[in-house]
Amino acid sequence: MSNAVSALQGKLAPGEVTIREAGLRGMIVLRGDLTDKKLRAVCSGVTGVDYPGQGQANCVGEKGLCWMSPDELLVLVPYAEVAEAIALIDKALKGTHYLAENVSDARALILVEGTYGREVIAKLAPADLHPDSFKPGDFRRTRLGQVAAAFWMRDEDTFEVICFRSVAEYTFNLLAASAKAGAVGHF
């Protein structure tokens, strides 16, 4: 593969809340014993962020760690650094039971930027997005419309949404339609 492209190649739906496909991002699925100190250390080493608690995501720039389930972690790194990161994880966890797989090209990352981004997502997901219950640092796996997705807040006005690459266009259009319909004024 000489020329890797993201699912929607940076597609943009401008508006009061802008929906933007974020382009290529390195994502590694890491399954294993998440209580293992070696595992936590190498994850922090690769990404430079602290190990997240249950239902949390620690992200700085393009790097981050997201808690997916009691035995699964999503490691975010820049797209070009995936192979290097997996090599470091393999080296650190050699001999233990784990799986680290590059899923960068199997996923899409979409950004929801704007003041009522919270409502754009709340209209589509069966999740409590009230400012008191969902804050920057929280991470939620759920569905958007009819497809599986996960999201977290980079800051108060920016949501990052991941979904499977095959449904990237659906998810994008869904978010764009929700943004275009405007705020409900619920929060």
């Binding site: 389930s69 699964e72 796996r141 759920t142 569905r143």
Partner: protein, 109 residues
């Protein structure tokens, strides 16, 4: 609408986030069992109007199976607990007994 608390990821999951897995606490009868036992294991299920124990999977979330105790009549949820549990935990049984004195379900009461 049913909302169940996932004991694995701590999320209060909506029914549409979940997948129903049928009756909980089945005892498997495989090779070596009698035809009647095998038939019971395969086909015979509780169908109560009231207290029920079910398997659910947090399919859009963490993907884990868990068990739930709820009332099929009022949709009251008594509690959820991990799938690696052989019988309903005491706190959930006490809670059911509080509002449904004399309840019974399969081998539990």
């Amino acid at each position: 609408m049913l909302t169940l608390h996932c004991p694995y990821c701590g999320v209060d999951a909506d029914e549409t986030d979940l997948h129903a897995g049928g009756q909980a606490h089945l005892k498997r009868f495989g090779p070596g069992s009698s035809d009647e036992e095998f038939e019971d294991y395969l086909f015979m299920r509780e169908n109560p109007k009231g207290v029920h124990f079910e398997r659910w999977r947090h399919v859009y979330g963490c993907g884990k199976w868990f068990l739930a105790a709820r009332c099929t009549n009022t949709l009251e949820v008594f509690g959820t607990y991990p799938a690696q549990t052989l019988e309903p935990p005491k706190d959930i049984r006490d809670k059911i007994a509080g509002t449904r004195p004399g309840w019974s379900w399969g081998i539990f009461k």
